[in-house]
């Protein structure tokens, strides 16, 4: 009995920490609809700023509280600056585009933090009271953890008062329901958004600082926190504070007992919970159905490529085909990888653009294809590659049955949960996947050993695959998929089976990604769980968003630009994250419709059709 109670208390204190970071994220999303990927970075800044402030203060409780509040205020100011300089410029961009901007911020903050505070973990020296414990049923329980249990409900209560008892709070709640109405009331929407973002950032900073007595300030906080916070927010229902509170308790307590009963599962427990909740309740515990994010006034017709573009593409193709004759071996291997990225990005485009289904876990299909090739040691390449496509496609079709009923961020998060589960299988299945050490020694057949021949194979498969996807998007099936995205109710009313169409897009995307993953295995000669990591999924997302979601030229341009930029910076500077992040931010502000989208717009401005 005492075991249960102690573990329960431990879970509740973990839940409070989860809630603090999730609360800020959900408040920001509820009002601005921004999927703020940099929330974890704000939390990390909170931890570092808190460390700096608290190490200069006396070590007693009153000063601790004062220091933590000061940290929250400082982080709030940083959030405000971030909103005013960057996010304000991209609110009108298409759905999820803000994610790209905030990801640029994540990269920049990583380098800036390391530059200011150094690479080593910074532990906060704890005063006596922070180390103390109380005896509960024969076990010792930390006083600080006990206090934390109270902080979660306290913050929830204060936020509730703020949102229900102040004019500002009333406006914010109104804005959550209907942004246009609030601006019609003559309220300065910009101030409202800025203040909400500052509040969210302050909560992130509060969470970061309050974590200090338990964990050092370190450079991994950002990515750890952001995934946890997303899971909690989505399980609770986007924009719902009470939902986030319930979700953090659910996950915190399950985590505590999971450690006790099933230590191996802790890697994916939170994601399993999220998957189950989303399958049962597609809008989270307390979430409401999202209004369709794509406004009907945005008309992005899919037009056949203008002649000039076709000529340009032919020229590029000619250059690509002759590449083995004039490039160095290394450039050839970079081009091979770029081609694989093109198919990978194009497959995500099918889902995200015409399919209207954004994915945070697209690397799952890539990884399944890669592991299919890796596990089929000895199978000839002409058999293994189609199998990579087939296996990824079949699993996508099966998993898609659950996914296609969801929409927007919920759908994206369910794909993330699936990718994390696949990743964990690859990571933990040491006996057959080799765990994080991966599968080595994947050898190409004799004729494909030559870098030039393999390049041509990749060119054929990837460009062929991408052009086939393009063909399908222009064909009736592709139009029907787009119709289901544009207006599900109209699509159904003219006989289109929307869910089956979405499933088709999902399967198609999964299969094509699997094919690209299979090729990647052969290109590298090995497979690792990192192929399925969140980072790799984010890469795909960045390529599509950077290029533009409205036509297949988007992912092609995006993949080339992103892989080229990344490879170049990685070799050129140790501050590549700062430069890459800044470049992404600048591109986002300059071309909110993506590079390809912007070129298309400029083209049509010069040459009206």
């Amino acid at each position: 009995m005492d075991v249960v109670l102690l573990q329960l208390l431990t879970g509740l204190s973990g839940a409070s920490s989860l809630f603090l970071v999730a609360a800020g994220l959900t408040v920001i999303f509820g009002v601005t609809r921004v999927v703020n990927f940099s929330h974890g970075s704000l939390c990390m800044l909170g931890a570092y700023i808190g460390w700096t402030i608290l190490t200069h203060l006396p070590r007693d409780p009153a000063w601790f509280v004062a220091g933590v509040l000061l940290t929250a205020a400082a982080t709030g100011l940083i959030g405000m600056a971030l909103e005013m300089t960057l996010l304000r410029r991209v609110y009108r961009a298409p759905e999820l585009f803000q994610l790209l901007a905030t990801f640029g911020v994540v990269l920049m903050v990583q380098d800036i933090t390391q530059w200011i505070w150094g690479a080593e973990d910074l532990p906060l020296p704890r005063g006596r009271w922070l180390r103390g414990g109380v005896e509960i049923l024969g076990g010792r329980f930390p006083i600080y953890d006990l206090a934390l249990i109270g902080v979660g409900p306290l913050v929830l209560g204060l936020l509730w008062l703020l949102f229900t008892r102040t004019r500002w709070g009333t406006l914010v709640r109104a804005a959550t329901f209907d942004r246009e109405m609030v601006s019609a009331l003559g309220v300065d929407q910009r101030m409202l958004f800025t203040s909400v973002f500052a509040l969210g950032a302050a909560l992130a900073g509060l969470g970061g600082a309050l974590g200090l007595p338990q964990a050092s300030a370190n450079l991994n906080i950002d990515l750890t926190v952001i995934t946890d916070a997303f899971v909690v927010v989505v399980v609770g229902g986007l924009g719902s504070l009470v939902g986030a509170f319930l979700a953090s308790i659910l996950i915190g307590v399950l985590q505590a007992f999971g450690v006790l009963l099933l230590p191996q599962a802790t890697l994916v427990l939170a994601f399993l919970v999220m998957a189950v909740v989303l399958v049962l309740r597609p809008n989270g515990l307390l979430g409401k159905a999202q209004a369709t994010a794509r406004s009907a006034s945005i008309a992005c017709l899919v037009r056949p490529a203008p002649t000039a573009l076709k000529l340009f593409a032919m020229a590029a193709l000619l250059v690509a085909i002759t590449a083995p004759f004039w490039t160095e071996p290394f450039l050839l291997s970079v081009l091979t990888e770029a081609l694989i990225s093109i198919l990978f990005a194009a497959s995500l485009h099918v889902m995200m653009g015409p399919g209207g289904m954004p994915s945070f876990g697209h690397a799952a299909w890539f990884g399944i294809g890669a592991y299919t090739v890796g596990l089929l040691v000895g199978a000839p390449l002409p058999l293994a590659l189609p199998l990579a496509l087939l296996v990824a496609g079949l699993i996508a079709a099966a998993f898609g049955l659950f996914v296609v009923r969801l929409s927007g961020v919920y759908l994206a998060m369910l794909t993330l949960a699936f990718a994390q589960i696949v990743w964990a299988i690859a990571f933990q299945g040491v006996s057959f996947t080799g765990g994080d050490n991966g599968l080595l020694g994947i050898r190409r057949p004799g004729w494909a050993l030559d870098a030039g021949n393999f390049y041509w194979l990749t060119l054929g498969v990837c460009l062929g695959g991408t052009l086939l996807l393009r063909r399908i998007l222009y064909a009736p099936l592709g139009y029907a998929i787009r119709a289901a995205r544009d207006s599900a109710v109209r699509a159904e009313a003219i006989g289109l089976p929307t869910n089956r169409l979405r499933l088709a897009a999902f399967t198609l995307a999964g299969a094509a990604a699997g094919l690209s993953g299979g090729l990647f295995s052969y290109a590298k000669g090995s497979v690792f769980p990192t192929y399925i990591s969140i980072g790799h999924s984010v890469d795909a997302l960045l390529m599509v968003l950077l290029g533009g979601v409205d036509s297949i030229s988007g992912p092609i341009v995006g993949a080339l630009a992103y892989t080229g930029l990344y490879d170049m910076l990685l070799r050129a500077t140790s501050l590549w994250r700062l430069v890459l992040g800044a470049t992404i931010v600048v591109l986002v502000v300059a071309f909110p419709e993506g590079i390809a989208g912007a070129s298309q717009r400029l083209w049509h401005r010069v040459r009206p059709t």
Binding site: A296, S297, A475, A480, V489
Partner: protein, 252 residues
């Protein structure tokens, strides 16, 4: 036999009874108007017939077939075309492509992946666009159309499947009076020529009394009157509903 027969239809939202024991039928070639004040339950009725909502009680028959609770897609397959009160079209496609999409679906060409969609059913699409006066808009993005044109586009899409029953929810909203009459005249012609049954709601009483063969009046979910234009005009209960609400709102 009637094309559509509805009996004892009922729908509750929470504690509110939106539609209460409504029965009616529409015959081939007949234009039946459904009228009533805002919130009377007109759109709810439409959505139950179209399959967007499932009724709590009652039955819906198309010809002899019971279609109660079927999905919109299945009801469409049985020959029901519809337009929506809030227009629903494919914003990222041109007007022509919207119609082509409906034709592709009708001709069961949905899963084809080889031939480009914009070469499908070109002549038939032009013909439909011509009938509805949308020729000069054919290559514009549907998302950029004026509201009245969107209504026409919806009608074109609804007609693409050569339906036997047409459901039109406020088909002339957003149109100038002359446009309204022209559109309804076209509908009338189709009804007569093809034996198309038309069920429609409309706020413009000139349109209703001008074209409807028969009129149903709903109030707070209940059917309170049914008959020809003359009969409805003379019905005291109808007058009470329409004038009464007006008097009430004026009185306070």
């Amino acid at each position: 036999m009637s094309v559509l027969a509805v009996s004892g239809l009922q729908k509750n939202f929470g504690g509110v009874r939106a539609v209460d024991d409504v029965s009616f039928s529409v015959a081939a070639g007949e234009m039946l108007a459904l009228i009533g004040p805002n919130g009377a339950g007109k759109t709810t009725c439409f959505n139950m017939v179209g399959g967007q909502l499932a009724p709590d009680h009652g039955a819906i028959h198309l010809a002899a077939q019971n279609v109660t609770g079927l999905a919109p897609r299945q009801i469409w397959r049985l020959g029901v075309g519809r337009t929506f009160q809030i227009t629903a079209t494919f914003a990222s496609m041109t007007v022509r492509e919207n119609v082509q999409m409906a034709l592709i679906s009708h001709h069961r060409g949905l899963w084809r992946i080889v031939r480009a969609a914009r070469f499908s059913h070109v002549a038939e699409a032009s013909d439909l666009l011509g009938q509805l006066g949308l020729d000069d808009q054919a290559d514009r993005a549907a998302g950029l159309l004026a509201y009245g044109d969107l209504k026409r586009l919806e009608l074109a899409m609804a007609l693409a499947s050569r339906p036997t029953l047409l459901l039109m929810d406020e088909p002339t909203a957003g149109m100038a009076p002359t446009e309204r009459m022209a559109l309804m005249a076209l509908t009338r012609r189709l009804a007569t020529e093809r034996g198309l049954a038309v069920l429609f709601t409309e706020h413009d009483m000139d349109v209703v009394f001008g074209v409807a063969d028969r009129i149903l009046v709903l109030d707070r979910g209940r059917l309170i009157a049914e008959g020809s234009g003359t009969e409805i005009r003379a019905n005291p209960q109808v007058r009470a509903v329409y004038l009464g609400t007006g008097a009430t709102s004026g009185g306070h």
